[in-house]
C-alpha cells in the first residue's frame, strides 16, 4: 500500500497549480459577463462561441488525421440531421471503427 499512496511535495504543488489554473479559466468567463455590457458585436461574438470552440477542438481530428476520420465525420454529420445525440455517437464510433478496419486492409 505504501507505493499506492506514494507522493512528494513537488507533485502536490503541480496538481494544486493545475487545479487552480483550470478553475480560474472556468469561472473567469462567468465574471466577465457579469461586468461587461453585452451588445452589438460583443454579443454576436459570444453567441458564436459554441460552434467556434467545438469546431476548433475537433477540426484537426476530423479533417487532418486521415480518410477514415474524415469519412466518419461526414457520416456522423448526416446522421445528426435525423438521429438524437445518442444515436449520433453510436454512428460515429461504429463508422470510424469500420472505416479504419476497411482502409487498414487495403
Amino acid at each position: 500500500m505504501e507505493s499506492f499512496f506514494h507522493t512528494d511535495p513537488l507533485t502536490l504543488l503541480a496538481i494544486l497549480g493545475m487545479g487552480v489554473a483550470t478553475y480560474v479559466t472556468r469561472i473567469s468567463g462567468l465574471l466577465l459577463v457579469r461586468f461587461v455590457d453585452l451588445k452589438g458585436r460583443t454579443r454576436a461574438a459570444l453567441e458564436a462561441v459554441p460552434v467556434a470552440v467545438l469546431m476548433a477542438v475537433i477540426a484537426p481530428t476530423v479533417l487532418a488525421t486521415g480518410p477514415a476520420e474524415t469519412g466518419a465525420a461526414i457520416i456522423t454529420m448526416l446522421a445528426a440531421f435525423r438521429l438524437p445525440l445518442l444515436g449520433v455517437v453510436a454512428v460515429g464510433v461504429v463508422s470510424v471503427a469500420v472505416l479504419r478496419a476497411a482502409l487498414g486492409m487495403l
Binding site: G29, L85, G92
Partner: protein, 239 residues
C-alpha cells in the same frame, strides 16, 4: 429574471442530465484507463493520479501535463501549460454564463468548476431549448466526474498491463468528435454558421501544423468568434 429558484430542485432535470451524459461516460471509460496507465509509467502513484483527476478534472490538460512530467516535477511549467490548454474555458464559461443566470452566482461558481468540454457542450445544447439548471448540470457532472476519478485510478493501478490498450482500436476515441459534430449541427443557423465553422476549422488546423502544443483550440476559437463579430451588423442585434 424572475424564474423561481426552486427550478434548481426539479428531480427531472437531474435525471435528464444523467441520461444525456450516459453515452459519454461509457466512451470516457477506456480513455480514463489509458490516462491512468500513462501516469503510472511516468511514476505517479495511483493516489497522485486520482488526486489530479479530482482536483483538475480536465482530460486535455492532464494528458499534456503527464506528457512532460519529469523528476524533479516542473510544477511551474505544468501549471502554465494547464492555463494555456484550458484558456478556451474562458470563452466557454462566458457563453454559458449568460444562459444560466437563473441558478444564481453561488451555484454557478460550483457548477462551473465541473465545466469539462463535454459537460459544457451538453449544457449549451440544453440551454437552446430549455433551462440548463444547476440540477441538470450536476446530473451531467456527477457520473462523469466519478467515472474519471475512479477509472484513472484503476488505470494507474493496473499500470503497464494497460500499456497496449488502444481506444482507437474500437473507435471509442471518436465518440467525442461525434458528439461535438452532433452538437454543432444543433447550433446550425444557416450560411453564417458555415462561415464561422470554416474560419475556426482552418485556423485550428493551420495553427496545429505550425505551432506545437494545444494552442490550436484557442486559435480556432478566436478566429471563429472574430469572424462572427465582423459579419454582424451591429445595428441589427442591438438591444
Amino acid at each position: 429574471m424572475t424564474i423561481s429558484s426552486n427550478t434548481d430542485l426539479r428531480p427531472n432535470d437531474f435525471a435528464d442530465g444523467l441520461r444525456a451524459i450516459a453515452p459519454l461516460v461509457v466512451a470516457a471509460f477506456p480513455i480514463a484507463l489509458v490516462f491512468g496507465a500513462l501516469a503510472a509509467q511516468k511514476g505517479l502513484s495511483p493516489f497522485e493520479t486520482m488526486l489530479m483527476s479530482s482536483v483538475v478534472f480536465a482530460g486535455g490538460s492532464q494528458f499534456v501535463a503527464v506528457d512532460f512530467w519529469a523528476d524533479p516535477v516542473p510544477w511551474v511549467a505544468i501549471t502554465i501549460s494547464a492555463l494555456l490548454v484550458n484558456i478556451r474555458h474562458v470563452l466557454m464559461s462566458a457563453s454559458l454564463g449568460t444562459k444560466t443566470h437563473q441558478m444564481g452566482f453561488g451555484k454557478q461558481l460550483i457548477a462551473f468548476g465541473f465545466l469539462a468540454d463535454e459537460i459544457w457542450a451538453l449544457s449549451e445544447h440544453r440551454a437552446r431549448k430549455q433551462d440548463a439548471s444547476f440540477a441538470f448540470m450536476m446530473g451531467l457532472a456527477m457520473p462523469f466526474y466519478i467515472n474519471w476519478v475512479v477509472m484513472t485510478g484503476v488505470g494507474s493501478s493496473l499500470g503497464t498491463l494497460l500499456a497496449n490498450l488502444d481506444p482507437a482500436k474500437w473507435g471509442f476515441d471518436f465518440a467525442f468528435p461525434a458528439i461535438f459534430i452532433g452538437l454543432i449541427m444543433g447550433f446550425w443557423q444557416g450560411q453564417k454558421t458555415g462561415i464561422i465553422l470554416a474560419a475556426s476549422g482552418l485556423a485550428a488546423i493551420a495553427c496545429k501544423a505550425l505551432v506545437p502544443g494545444a494552442w490550436y483550440i484557442a486559435a480556432g476559437a478566436a478566429a471563429g468568434v472574430l469572424v462572427a463579430a465582423i459579419l454582424t451588423d451591429p445595428e441589427a442585434v442591438e438591444g
